[in-house]
């Protein structure tokens, strides 16, 4: 299987994570290719966020390894992973609350060693792209939830990542905000040759954004592949999509 994986991809192979003896992830292998949006779905508590935390070095691995564009990442080194080109957002928004929107976005560029003046320019461009430029000087804590989500994505993009891991980016957004976000996310892989992993419970959103999905339940991969095929997979229907999907199928 690994022979077919392009060297430019992000490969998390055989990832096992344990918390005090509880196995949260059990030998999960996932590949994100540049220029694609991959959906990661599964029931609550299945280990989706833990997988992002494992890839980004924020939880220690019991087994497995993460390779970013051919480079093996050291264990539990979130900084190295970030500087290798992996950006992320969090399930519960984690902005720098006392910084302005612009400063929040600038920090990602500054962390990569970009000068303040250039970082500000990058932030301005991205905020314009996300329709947030008018709020650039607003303190992040004063934003509404949907705007906080957008700023978090903008911040991750300011580091010019090769891969972006989005943990429920549309959570808390209304329908129109979600639609707009969807449109913006669809543009990103083409514009930036960016590989995106997206976790969301909103199946219509996943269907619109992703060609491939990866499904995990109880910490194990139960299906992976094209969304049409996965939707028909009995294990997926049983574990995640439930009876309504069974009827649809």
């Amino acid at each position: 299987m690994q022979a077919d994986i392009p060297t430019t991809a992000l490969l998390a192979s055989n990832i096992t994570v344990e918390f005090a003896g509880l196995r949260a992830l059990d030998g999960v292998t996932i590949v994100i290719n540049p220029g694609e949006i991959l959906g990661l779905i599964g029931p609550n508590g299945s280990g989706k966020t833990t997988l992002i935390n494992a890839i980004t070095g924020q939880v220690p691995l019991a087994t497995g390894q993460v390779t970013v564009a051919g480079d093996v990442m050291p264990l539990s080194a979130p900084r190295t992973v970030a500087l290798s080109g992996v950006g992320r957002t969090f399930q519960i928004v984690r902005l720098f609350d006392q910084l302005t929107v612009s400063e929040n976005v600038e920090t990602a560029a500054l962390a990569k060693g970009i000068k303040r003046k250039d970082a500000r320019k990058i932030a301005t461009e991205i905020l314009q792209e996300f329709g947030m430029l008018s709020r650039a000087e607003t303190i992040a804590a004063n934003l509404n939830y949907g705007d906080k989500r957008r700023v978090e994505i903008a911040r991750a993009l300011a580091a010019t990542p090769k891969f972006l891991l989005l943990d429920e980016p549309a959570a808390g957004m209304n329908e129109s905000e979600s639609q707009m976000l969807c449109k913006q996310l669809l543009e990103l892989p083409k514009q930036r040759n960016l590989g995106i992993l997206i976790i969301d419970h909103d199946m219509p959103l996943i269907s619109r954004l992703c060609d491939r999905v990866h499904v995990i339940a109880s910490g194990k991969t139960i299906a992976a592949g094209l969304i049409e095929n996965v939707r028909k997979d009995p294990a997926v229907i049983e574990a995640y999509l439930g009876s309504s999907a069974r009827q649809d199928a």
């Binding site: 720098f96 006392q98 910084l99 920090t107 962390a111 303040r116 970082a119």
Partner: protein, 344 residues
């Protein structure tokens, strides 16, 4: 014109204007006590702004600050006590140190550099810690610095008073150094490192996920903080002329922290305002103590009112306004906001 409208320039100009006003008032009233109070206030501005550079930007409370003030004061003393007084002031001084000498102004800045070098050497491992662990280790560092000052007789004269520092610290000098400290602290706050430090303060997990080298940015903020504390210590040493290690311990730590907490650790404006408010309150309460004691209203002596009021003020501020009186916006931001509002 746009330079003048810059919010950072306005912040520095406003805060330095406050110091300038203090100097003018002092010269206008020409009362020695007022000049002494104003000079101490300016030294405290250097100290508190220095503490703000670390605590305000990283969100980590540091008890070690006053220890670095001591390092600066002793370094400056070693370099400036006149040769003819050294035998009496430092009877156990190492022979190789007997020839050390520098002008007082240079010695004050060298004191800051020595404090910064010591901070750089000892603090990096501590910068990996957060929350209670970071606070406790900073306290441990204060204890270490104090113990060294207390027992290194060859350099500090041990627990005994060290005397003979040339009294060169004047109000204009302290005001200039305080203005410089304000400008440096603001430049740091708005620099690449300052923003990264503030990001680690607001969310350490997100900062690490973005590739910020948290220990390094904290370490650099700590070094700057120690540099300013060392300079403040040198200025103070040359103001009082004699001191012992007890001048750099818990009581002084409490006062400096109180000033910053009341003013607002998140802003330089808050730090400066905190110094002005606490100094004014201290002096008023000291006067009240004197009046009460001279009038013999109570059977015993009234003592410690200033410390008790400071403690209650800190409790009140932390309970009612945890970010201090000026929590997030510098005075320059407020002025620019007002101007924009007026322009519509």
């Amino acid at each position: 014109m746009s330079f003048l409208m810059n919010r950072h320039t306005l912040t520095v100009a406003s805060l330095c204007g406050l110091l300038l006003m203090l100097v003018f008032i002092s010269y206008a009233v020409d009362v020695r006590v007022f000049t002494r109070i104003a000079t101490t206030l300016c030294i405290n501005v250097v100290m508190v702004v220095g503490l703000q550079s670390f605590m305000g930007n990283t969100g980590i409370l540091s008890f070690a600050h006053i220890g670095f003030m001591g390092v600066g004061a002793y370094t400056s003393a070693l370099l400036t006590i006149p040769a003819q007084m050294r035998g009496m002031a430092l009877p156990d001084l190492y022979p190789f140190m007997e020839g050390l000498s520098a002008s007082p102004i240079l010695a004050i800045f060298l004191g800051g550099i020595v404090a910064a070098v010591i901070a750089a050497a000892v603090s990096y491992p501590l910068m990996r810690l957060s929350d209670a662990a970071a606070v406790i280790t900073s306290f441990a560092l204060l204890v270490v610095l104090h113990t060294v000052m207390l027992h290194w007789s060859e350099v500090t004269n041990g627990p005994r008073t060290l005397f003979g520092l040339p009294a060169i610290t004047s109000l204009p000098l302290t005001a200039i150094v305080a203005a410089g400290a304000i400008a440096v602290a603001l430049m740091f706050k708005e620099s690449r490192l300052g923003i990264l430090a503030r990001a680690t303060r607001d969310d350490e997990t997100a900062a690490r996920a973005m590739g910020i080298n948290t220990p390094r940015v904290r370490w650099l903020a700590f070094i700057l903080s120690a540099l300013l504390a060392g300079i403040g210590g040198g200025l103070w040493g040359h103001f009082v002329g004699s001191f012992s290690p007890k001048a750099f311990y818990l009581k002084e730590t409490f006062v400096i922290l109180g000033m910053l907490v009341i003013g607002g650790p998140g802003t330089i404006t808050g730090a400066v305002l905190g110094v002005f408010i606490v100094t004014a309150a201290f002096e008023s309460l000291r006067t009240l103590e004197v009046v009460l004691n001279s009038a013999q209203i109570f059977s015993g002596q009234v003592v410690g009112v200033t410390e008790i009021v400071l403690a209650f003020s800190m409790i009140a501020v932390l309970a009612l306004r945890p970010g201090g009186l000026v929590p997030t916006r510098e005075i320059g931001d407020a002025i620019v906001g007002l101007i924009r509002k007026r322009k519509g």
